[in-house]
């Protein structure tokens, strides 16, 4: 069937068999390869995207379930041609190494800050606990998300 979605603010549509996973639809049909596949079993979280603003593991959502909805992927994080606070903070705090889990981590971090502008370390660790990372030991990912919060709060108060 034809699946129509809004991806990173842009209306897109493509044919998809009912069994096609959202992650394969995003990577294959929409050609957005920043969303990755790590386990196929909803465990590792590297396929995380925002569906109507909420993080979902796109290996466990069928493409057809996203019909008519809005998806944000890592390619949509930049705002007005500039890196978002989350992206800047991951760079500044060395929150990434191989880069494979990074898009998902940044999206989860972005969604967290929507709900909680001042997350504690535990808040951050809990929020990203559905997302695995093998390189960083999570230390600098946690720091980066907290730094992004600080950056955003500074912008708001400025």
């Amino acid at each position: 069937m034809k699946v129509e979605v809004t991806v990173n603010g842009e209306a897109r549509s493509a044919e998809a068999e009912p069994r096609v996973l959202l992650v394969d639809f995003i990577r294959g049909s929409l050609g957005l390869t920043g969303t990755h596949v790590g386990c196929d079993t909803t465990s590792c979280g590297v396929c995380t995207v925002l569906l109507d603003g909420t993080p979902v593991k796109s290996c466990t959502v069928f493409a057809v379930q996203a019909h008519g909805r809005s998806i944000t992927t890592v390619e949509g994080l930049k705002q007005n041609g500039e890196l978002s606070a989350m992206q800047k903070a991951f760079h500044e705090e060395h929150g990434l190494q191989c880069g494979f889990c990074t898009p998902a981590m940044m999206l989860v971090g972005t969604a967290l800050l929507e709900e909680n502008a001042n997350p504690s370390e535990d808040d951050v660790r809990w929020a990203i606990s559905g997302n695995l990372c093998r390189c960083t030991g999570y230390m600098n990912i946690v720091k980066a998300i907290q730094a992004a919060a600080a950056m955003q709060n500074e912008e708001v108060s400025a």
Binding site: E17, R19, V20, D24, R27, L32, T33, G34, T35, H36, V37, G38, C39, D40, T41, S43, C44, V46, T73, V74, E75, L77, K78, L83, Q87, F90, H91, E92, H94, L96, Q97, C98, G99, F100, C101, T102, P103, M106, V124, R125, W126, I128, S129, G130, N131, L132, C133, R134, C135, T136, G137, Y138, M139, N140, I141, V142
Partner: protein, 787 residues
């Protein structure tokens, strides 16, 4: 010499050694613009899926592929019989054994590759692979090396003519007689039996390939998840009989490696063969389960260690006997001379005259591998054993474990130090690292608290590990992969405008080479790091090298980078002399420029020289400012450190929680402190993973338990401890910039620290060992058993 920190010699703008330069590779990853193997799509590309054995040991009676072939969209089904026509049913492993590409005679582990489907779509390929019917005749599965080595055990490798048992190798190191003599004089002998369980590196990106063989030109372009693209090219040439100049391996962005992407896997070979035969590109990406059940596992060592100690608390000698579970094919990737890898570093950070290590490797009906998972060839097992033994010896002698270590450390004046098993440690100051770690954690105070806690029925433990690692293979006389000497390479081209490109034979998988290797050039030539592009992972466009694993990139390719920079500086001096109309002997080098001695105003920059190299060279000097260097290190490097872990153990449940994790590392000179810290964080997390939850095991039928991330547990941010890092700096005396390598220190050193902490909490109950992973049930059992 040990210092706590050295300040950089270059400005932040130049960005040489010691600057926490932000990473240049981040830009593409932050925007989802990386280029991993699965991101590559070529015109007309087909997809491959593999049918695997559900049984661990069985004879293949028949394979029926007709149903699979009938599925619409299926282009071909490949079996071992078909591959045998091209002499490709078997391939060599990196340890010089053979491995079935697709099984023809029997299956030897659950998950073994039997047939592959090539189809127009990944979903169709997988559907059809599931329709392949294989008839089996069951054989006894052998799931541990003890059974494997019994005389009546069925022979797993009956494909090998000279194989009359399941023994893979017997290997020894050290002096047996001297060791026995020392043991005869011992006041006490402390022994430990422990299994370092099977683990899996499981990088978040699984393994895969896009094989593109052009039928018109015969050119094979292979996009592969490869930590060692050049070595893989040579193996492909040997396996497939393809002319090596027609093979180009491109290892694009790699989503973590940790040793998992060192071996050559059957999937790579089948996809390449399929592309060759069909004439179209073929993509194969593993599922997570395929990754966990069939590709390079790690560890699986059954170790018996004995430490002879004197009444005064001095170690006299060490004796180790081991059995290693190699799986169905011996496919460790390690130097030919050392079948147990570099396990003989097991003597550790301590000064004693005698040691003897003996080991047997056994085939079993389990996946092959034995890869060095974030480890330099079995160093992790070695470090674990000695640090566990030392801790237990302190208990038996009634000594404080830190004091016992201090008393036995190799002293800093003793370097270079020849160990009883033949390593020459380059440099070290073990006491300084221990002292700093103790200070950071507040050792004495926590020891006091531990005693208090016991009175209240609480269990607190402090675990130490003062590890010494060996990394940076070669020298090539001793260290090789399939005979290829373990050197590495760097090619540096300085362009006319003074910008440069550095090409390396290694391949980063997240270590940040594009950032840090430019810093080495910046230090040596004064060209700002931001003006230097670093290229890796394309065999057509980089010099030959052995790859990135065993923490060898900085020790070997880093040295090559420094050396080629220095060579170019020598040439630059000739050109500078010409430009300044001075004698070379009258020139002095300061960062980024030459000036005439005593006349600092009379100078030319490296950029001026680069331009002149293409526009105005002196007579007798070749044009250009380019060169390549192959570096064969004179010795390995020996990073070290002390880790201290404090845990709280819940006596009612056996659960334990890390309260503090203090890690003091000495990896010599630090190129980029931020990147070094990041590497240590990652290693400490993986050490925690191994000690607490990561576990691959098998039931009696050979079914893999741990075949997905619900059974094979990887710690999340919630469980992973917070890490506190400290550093000392003891440069390597033989490395051009004094660096030692750091990617694996923390994985090597930390498991013993975590386990020692839990054992320390239970030490007064008489508990001396719990095998990893220390799951709550095992800890609870140990507490109950002791009471």
């Amino acid at each position: 010499m040990t210092t706590v920190h050295e300040s950089p010699k270059t400005t932040p703008e130049v960005g040489g050694l010691g600057h926490s330069r932000r990473r240049v590779e981040d830009a593409r990853f932050l925007e989802g613009r990386g280029n991993y193997v699965d991101d590559i799509t070529l015109p007309g590309m087909l997809h491959m899926a593999i049918h695997r054995s559900p049984l661990a040991h069985a004879r293949i009676v028949s394979i029926d592929t007709s149903e699979a072939e009938a599925v619409e969209g299926v282009v071909a089904v490949v079996t071992g019989e078909l591959l045998a026509n091209y002499n490709l049913a078997w391939m060599p492993t990196l340890s010089g054994d053979t491995q079935a590409v697709l099984a023809t005679d029997k299956v030897r582990f659950q998950g073994q590759e039997i047939a592959a489907v090539i189809a127009t779509d990944r979903y169709i390929a997988q559907d059809a692979a599931d329709l392949i019917q294989v008839e089996y005749e069951d054989l006894e599965p052998i799931v541990n090396p003890q059974r494997s080595l019994e005389e009546d055990a069925p022979i797993i490798r009956d494909d090998k003519e000279d194989q009359s048992s399941n023994l893979v190798y017997e290997w020894e190191s050290g002096d047996k007689e001297a060791t026995e003599a020392a043991f005869a004089k011992a006041h006490k002998v402390v022994s430990l039996d422990t299994h370092y369980p099977r683990s899996h590196p499981s990088p978040l990106e699984t393994c895969g390939i896009v094989a593109d063989v052009n039928s018109a030109t015969g050119q094979a372009t292979l996009y592969m998840t490869s930590q060692a693209p050049h070595a893989h090219r040579t193996v492909f040439a040997l396996v497939a009989g393809l002319p090596e100049q027609n093979i180009r391996i491109i290892s694009p962005d790699i989503g973590g490696g940790f040793g998992n992407k060192v071996p050559v896997y059957p999937g790579y070979v089948v996809a390449t063969a399929a592309s060759l035969v069909i004439g179209k590109p073929v993509k194969w990406m593993e599922t997570r389960t395929e990754n966990l059940i069939s590709t390079g596992f790690a560890r699986d060592y059954y170790m018996h260690g004995e430490l002879a100690v004197s009444e005064e608390g001095k170690i006299l000698a060490l004796k180790v006997d081991m059995v290693s579970d190699q799986g169905a094919f011996f496919s460790d990737a390690q130097p030919t001379k050392f079948q147990a890898g570099l396990f003989h570093i097991v003597t550790g950070s301590y000064d004693y005259p005698a040691a003897y290590v003996s080991t047997k490797g056994a085939y079993t009906n389990k996946a092959p591998g034995g890869v060095a998972y974030r480890c330099s060839f079995r160093v992790t097992e070695a470090s674990y054993l000695i640090e566990r033994l030392v801790q237990n010896a302190a208990y038996e002698l009634g000594m404080d474990p830190a004091e016992f270590r201090s008393k036995n450390f190799i002293q800093k004046e003793q370097f270079p130090y020849l160990t009883p098993t033949g390593f020459v440690y380059d440099s070290g100051d073990y006491e300084a690292a221990l002292r700093l770690a103790k200070e950071m954690v507040g050792y004495d105070e926590i020891q006091r608290e531990k005693e208090e806690a016991r009175k209240e029925g609480r269990l607190v433990g402090i675990g130490l590990a003062s590890f010494t690692e060996v990394v940076g293979a070669g020298h090539g006389d001793d260290y090789d992969i399939l005979g290829l000497r373990m050197f590495d390479s760097a090619e540096l081209r300085v362009h006319p405008t003074g910008k440069a490109i550095l090409k390396l034979g290694v391949r980063s998988q997240g270590q940040g080479h594009e950032t840090t290797f430019a810093q080495i050039v910046a230090e040596e030539l004064g060209i700002p790091a931001s003006d230097i592009k670093v290229v890796e992972g394309d065999t057509d466009n980089t010099p030959y090298g052995l790859g990135t694993y065993a923490s060898r990139s900085t020790p070997v390719a880093g040295a090559a980078t420094a050396m080629i920079s220095r060579n170019l500086r020598e040439k630059a001096k000739k050109i500078a002399a010409h430009l300044l109309e001075a004698s070379e002997d009258d020139l002095e080098w300061e960062v980024g420029k030459f000036h005439v001695k005593g006349d600092p105003d009379s100078s030319v920059t490296i950029q001026d020289v680069a331009f002149a190299a293409y526009t105005n060279v002196p007579e007798g000097v070749e044009a250009g400012l380019e060169g390549v260097h192959y570096y064969d290190p004179p010795n390995m490097t020996y990073p070290f450190g002390t880790y201290i872990v404090v845990v709280d153990v819940d006596p009612a449940t056996g659960q334990w929680k890390v309260r503090r994790m203090v890690a003091v590392d000495d990896c010599g000179v630090r190129i980029n402190p931020m990147v070094v810290d990041g590497q240590i964080h990652g290693g400490l997390a993986e050490g925690y993973a191994m000690s607490s939850m990561q576990y691959i095991t098998f039931d009696e039928s050979g079914n893999c338990i741990g075949s997905n991330f619900m059974d094979y547990l990887i710690p999340t941010a919630w469980e992973t401890p917070r890490f506190e890092l400290g550093e000392t700096v003891t440069p390597s005396p033989h490395h051009p910039i004094g660096a030692k390598g750091v990617g694996e220190s923390a994985t090597v050193g930390s498991p013993a620290a975590y386990v020692n902490a839990v054992i320390d909490a239970l030490e007064h109950l008489g508990v001396r060992n719990i095998d990893m992973p220390l799951t709550a049930d095992k800890v609870w059992d140990a507490i109950q058993g002791a009471q």
